[in-house]
């Protein structure tokens, strides 16, 4: 739920409750006031009627409400003594409405001469159901009016006020650290937003700079290692040519050389990875994966032949992706090399090319690999001590660069599946 709607829904609920309570109180108060003023009117009428009765005794005998709004009848003394004035509601048949309607009735007793008279005065009263209906109707109108104005307020004013926030949010949603983009904050009069903006700017600057320096570090480190590695390997190559070295010494040098060469391979792979991540392969062209894999099959013929493996390519469709030629080659050759190195001797490597899909499978001795880690750097097969464990990480990085998916599944065989 969006922030604006969220607050609106809260307002709606609270307003509903508040208006409900308010309506009850208002209704009771209003009714109280109405009764009060009706009773005052009745009291006033009573005085007028009594005064008029003194002047005109005819008025002392009115047994029903025919054309007036009061009745007078004499009562006995004993009745009169115990009688107390009373205001109450009652129903009376109204000719115009053809129905019983509520009326307010005052019953009182007065003395004229020696006799006591009972006076009943009525006045028409508010129809409570109509009142409630009217009140409810106005309340609903008020409620809707309020909600509408809150929504309008939210959308017009709050939206404007929250604009810096939403602008920031929108940019953060699309923010990718590796894309080297800037966040543009909207300045605001509101302190909290300004604080948020500056903090986020600072944090992002810091993340970007540490990301860049990390990238730089890997690249620089790998780069700076090249020369000393080259020197060391070459010096050992010169050393090992000395005639006076015995077999044991040569073996020692060989071991050092092997390790240095492993280091060189790893260094080259890291350098390649950071170059890919640093977008240093801008040239792109359409690459025909059928052609490419056929060429690679030829290149790897010797290595596959050595393990008595057969590379079978089955193609049902043209498959072309636009990417850097060198990287496409590295991507497929890493997958193929991986299949040859980790496949079992004397088995088949199957390459299947169909519409928007490249799949390569090799047989397995060890069962499924850990799918969460198969593309991580330095993920090594314990059986092969010479591999750097970066080949698949490079393949994944290349695929990602061109928005391709590279998945690993296990179905008796290891399958690597490349698709868009």
């Amino acid at each position: 739920m969006k922030l604006l709607n969220y607050t609106t829904s809260y307002f709606a609920a609270i307003l509903f409750l508040l208006l409900g309570i308010w309506a009850v109180i208002f209704y009771v108060e209003m009714l109280d006031e109405i009764y009060d003023s009706l009773d005052d009117g009745l009291g006033n009428q009573k005085t007028l009627i009594i005064n008029r009765a003194k002047n005109n005794p005819e008025n002392l005998k009115r047994l029903d409400f025919q054309d007036g709004s009061y009745t007078v009848r004499s009562i006995s003394n004993s009745q009169a003594i115990t009688f107390k004035d009373s205001y109450r509601d009652t129903l009376m048949y109204m000719h115009n409405e053809n129905d019983f309607e509520p009326v307010r009735l005052l019953e009182t007793v007065f003395k004229e001469g020696d006799k006591f008279y009972k006076l009943k005065i009525i006045t028409s009263m508010v129809e409570e159901d109509d009142l409630i209906e009217d009140l409810l109707f106005s309340l609903i109108l008020l409620y809707l009016g309020l909600i509408l104005s809150i929504v309008l307020l939210n959308n017009l004013i709050l939206k404007k006020i929250w604009n810096p926030f939403y602008s920031l949010l929108h940019q953060l949603k699309n923010f990718r650290l590796e894309k080297d983009q800037k966040i543009n904050t909207v300045s605001s009069n509101i302190d909290e937003f300004n604080l948020l903006n500056t903090r986020i700017e600072q944090m992002l600057d810091k993340s970007i700079s540490s990301y860049n320096s990390q990238k730089q570090f890997i690249e620089n480190a790998a780069h700076e290692l090249q020369t000393p590695l080259a020197i060391s390997i070459n010096k050992l190559e010169l050393l090992v040519e000395h005639e006076e070295l015995n077999e044991q010494q040569i073996e020692l040098v060989a071991s050092v050389l092997n390790n240095l060469e492993g280091l060189t391979r790893m260094n080259n792979s890291l350098l390649l990875l950071s170059k890919i991540e640093n977008q240093q392969f801008p040239d792109e062209q359409e690459i025909d994966f059928n052609d490419l894999i056929t060429n690679l099959k030829h290149d790897y013929k010797d290595l596959a032949g050595h393990k008595q493996m057969e590379i079978k390519i089955e193609s049902t469709s043209v498959l072309k992706y636009t990417m850097n030629k060198g990287l496409a080659r590295i991507l497929l050759s890493n997958l193929l090399k991986n299949a040859i190195i980790h496949g079992e001797k004397g088995t088949e490597i199957n390459v299947m090319i169909s519409v928007n899909s490249f799949r390569i499978s090799n047989s397995s001795k060890h069962g499924a690999l850990d799918t969460t880690r198969v593309f991580s750097r330095f993920q090594k097969n314990p059986g092969s001590k010479n591999s750097t464990g970066i080949g698949l990480a490079i393949a994944k990085t290349i695929a990602k660069k061109y928005q391709l998916q590279l998945d690993y599944t296990f179905t008796q065989e290891h399958n690597f599946h490349l698709y868009k």
């Binding site: 020369t227 080259a230 070459n234 190559e237 071991s255 050389l257 290149d299 010479n386 591999s387």
Partner: protein, 225 residues
């Protein structure tokens, strides 16, 4: 044959010098562009090994200079910046070859010799070794005038050994030279071993007066039998 090495990394320079002198080349060195310009101005060289990142400028500018002055020396760029752009730029500027650091000495040797062969033995590019004759342009090998049937890879292995005769050839140098980066991973020991075994057998059956000797753990050495 005279070679000029332009390199500002002293150890690197010394390595290359030592190695190439063992091949009976006359090697001179320069560790800056200025020094190199002075030497090139006075002497002529058969091959120049040129580092790109020099402390007083880029090797590319020196290369441009050479080509402008129509100096026909063969140039091999030796660079730590293993990037395709650099390679293309170097070759476009007229360099004969591009070698990325780190490299094996035997690879350097093979490249230098290839450059020298191209500039000095145009057309008639044959190496004789014992009763063996390697025709580089035709990709053919004769033993006592009888053609030896080698596949493409076997020919490349043999040529690499011939370029590095009597020198110790590191097996990964051999692998990289012949198969590119295709077998830089696991299993290359066995793989190379079996390739060499096949070649040895063919040479032996044809009665070649050369032998590929194994040097334990390191690689091989081609010697005249």
């Amino acid at each position: 044959m005279k070679i000029l090495i332009i390199e500002d990394e002293q150890d690197m320079l010394q390595n290359m010098k030592d190695f190439l002198e063992k091949e009976n080349f006359i090697v001179e060195t320069a560790n800056s562009i200025l020094q190199a310009q002075n030497k090139i101005g006075v002497y002529s060289y058969d091959c120049i090994l040129l580092d790109i990142n020099l402390k007083d400028g880029s090797g590319f500018s020196l290369l441009e200079d050479l080509k402008k002055k129509n100096i026909e020396d063969g140039v091999i760029i030796v660079s730590a910046r293993n990037s395709l752009d650099d390679k293309l730029e170097g070759l476009n500027l007229g360099a004969d070859d591009y070698l990325a650091k780190p490299f094996h000495m035997s690879e350097l040797n093979a490249r230098v010799k290839a450059v020298l062969r191209r500039s000095h033995f145009k057309g008639n590019n044959k190496i004789k070794l014992g009763n063996l004759c390697v025709d580089i342009d035709e990709h053919k090998v004769d033993i006592d005038q009888t053609p030896l049937n080698l596949n493409r890879k076997e020919f490349e292995i043999l040529l690499f050994f011939v370029s590095n005769q009597n020198r110790l050839v590191n097996k990964s140098a051999l692998a990289e030279h012949v198969w590119g980066d295709h077998i830089d991973q696991a299993d290359n020991f066995e793989f190379i071993y079996s390739q060499i075994k096949n070649l040895r057998k063919k040479l032996k059956d044809a009665g070649a007066e050369i032998e590929i000797k194994a040097v334990y753990g390191i690689g091989y050495k081609l010697v005249e039998a």
